[in-house]
């Protein structure tokens, strides 16, 4: 298991806040989470603007392979991965070289958003329920892409799988939206670069 991952996010989201920005953050976050095509297209265009302004240094570029982080359960027959559609939208904005479906959820885990903090799956549980698809590729730079990051356990579990399969690759994480659990949101658009790491308690912590 890896213990530290560089990660970036573009929007802040307040689950309970009451300010206008917090309300707007929920509207955007829910639509991204629901796989809404328009929300994902607009968000990908915004990521391109942030990338071009230098707010996301080292995350995107012509040699980056985008890998979608799987949802909490295996995909139902006929369903499509919403994180994969986020990757496709980012690729269409010229932010990467390719999208490769490398990760797959093989067993369901309890959904973070509906689980009490003590019940939320750990990075280890995510790692144990995610598999790497067989491939001949050896990507040099992988950016793991998720829709919403809460504590970062999913990204850390998925990153551990990628690192195990491609020990030489340069690995980072990205989520369109980061959850600001206890705060109001002052600006929905708020690109930030930070880290996800395992604290001494064994829990995953995210900054910012």
């Amino acid at each position: 298991m890896i213990e530290r991952l560089d990660f970036a996010s573009c929007y802040a989201y307040s689950p309970r806040g009451a300010t206008e920005a917090s309300l707007q953050s929920r509207q955007l976050c829910y639509r991204i989470k629901a796989g809404d095509a328009e929300a994902i297209r607009l968000a990908a265009e915004r990521v391109r603007t942030f990338h071009e302004s230098g707010a996301l240094p080292g995350f995107f570029g012509a040699n980056v392979t985008l890998v979608a982080v799987p949802g909490r359960a295996p995909l139902a027959p006929g369903a499509s991965s919403r994180t994969h559609s986020i990757c496709d939208a980012l690729l269409r904005c010229g932010l990467a070289r390719e999208v490769v479906a490398l990760l797959e959820r093989v067993e369901p885990v309890l959904k973070s958003a509906y689980a009490a903090p003590v019940e939320r799956p750990s990075a280890e549980e995510h790692y144990a329920t995610i598999a790497v698809a067989p491939t001949l590729l050896t990507p040099a730079r992988v950016l793991l892409v998720d829709d919403v990051v809460t504590r970062g356990a999913t990204l850390l579990g998925a990153a551990s799988r990628i690192q195990e399969a491609f020990p030489e690759c340069e690995l980072r994480g990205f989520a369109l939206v980061r959850t600001e659990s206890f705060d109001e949101v002052t600006a929905v658009r708020d690109p930030r670069v930070g880290i996800i790491e395992v604290a001494r308690t064994g829990k995953t912590v995210r900054r910012p």
């Binding site: 929007y11 707007q24 953050s25 929920r26 509207q27 955007l28 829910y30 639509r31 989470k33 629901a34 796989g35 809404d36 095509a37 328009e38 929300a39 607009l42 968000a43 265009e45 915004r46 949802g71 909490r72 359960a73 295996p74 995909l75 139902a76 027959p77 006929g78 369903a79 499509s80 919403r82 559609s85 067993e107 369901p108 959904k111 958003a113 509906y114 929905v188 658009r189």
Partner: protein, 231 residues
Amino acid sequence: MDVVVRTPTDLLGTLTDVERKHAPQELFLAGDLDLLARGPRVSVVGSRKVSLDGLRRARMLAKALVDHEIIVVSGLAEGVDTAAHQAAIDAGGRTIAVLGTPLDQAYPKDNLELQALIGREHLLVSQFPAGYRTQPGSFPMRNRTMALLTDATVIVEAGEKSGTVHQGWEALRLGRLLFLLESVANDPQLSWPREMIRYGAQVLSRESLADALQDIPTVTAYRGHELRHIA
């Protein structure tokens, strides 16, 4: 009855490929169209031939949804559907009926009065034009449409071959929330609950109900709204 025609895109904005697959061409609406502009909306579905416990659970669930200001959506069929609509109305909540018949027909006939009430004070939705001859396949089509139009689906009670099962799979295929009441999830006679749980369905117990309902997002009502100023 004034009937308004809308496409799914009018109501939901751009559809994804997965959504487009089973989406109807158009929808015929009668009643309070404002119900489409607020949310969240949750489908309560289950068998026509339902146990007394199933009816009680459907009513309890509909009332809990109303308490959380959630719109109760169902199919106005006998059994669970009728209980859910009636309990939502009795609790002072709002309800949407997605019919397997055109708006000018009622099935079962016993629900004619309830259907008229919902068409006046709440909202009726059908994908079938007036005069359309209802076929057995109309009902599972209706269930897929109901999954498309709602933020989550709750299955109250359904047998191994119940049409309700179509809606559960469609909700999962669309990536919408799917809940199974604990009683149906733990029924050893049934195989589909285990399968659905493997693909992400969540079990709803008396204890988890309030938390789960509080966290159901309003997405379907806001889709199609301009987002450019936020994103």
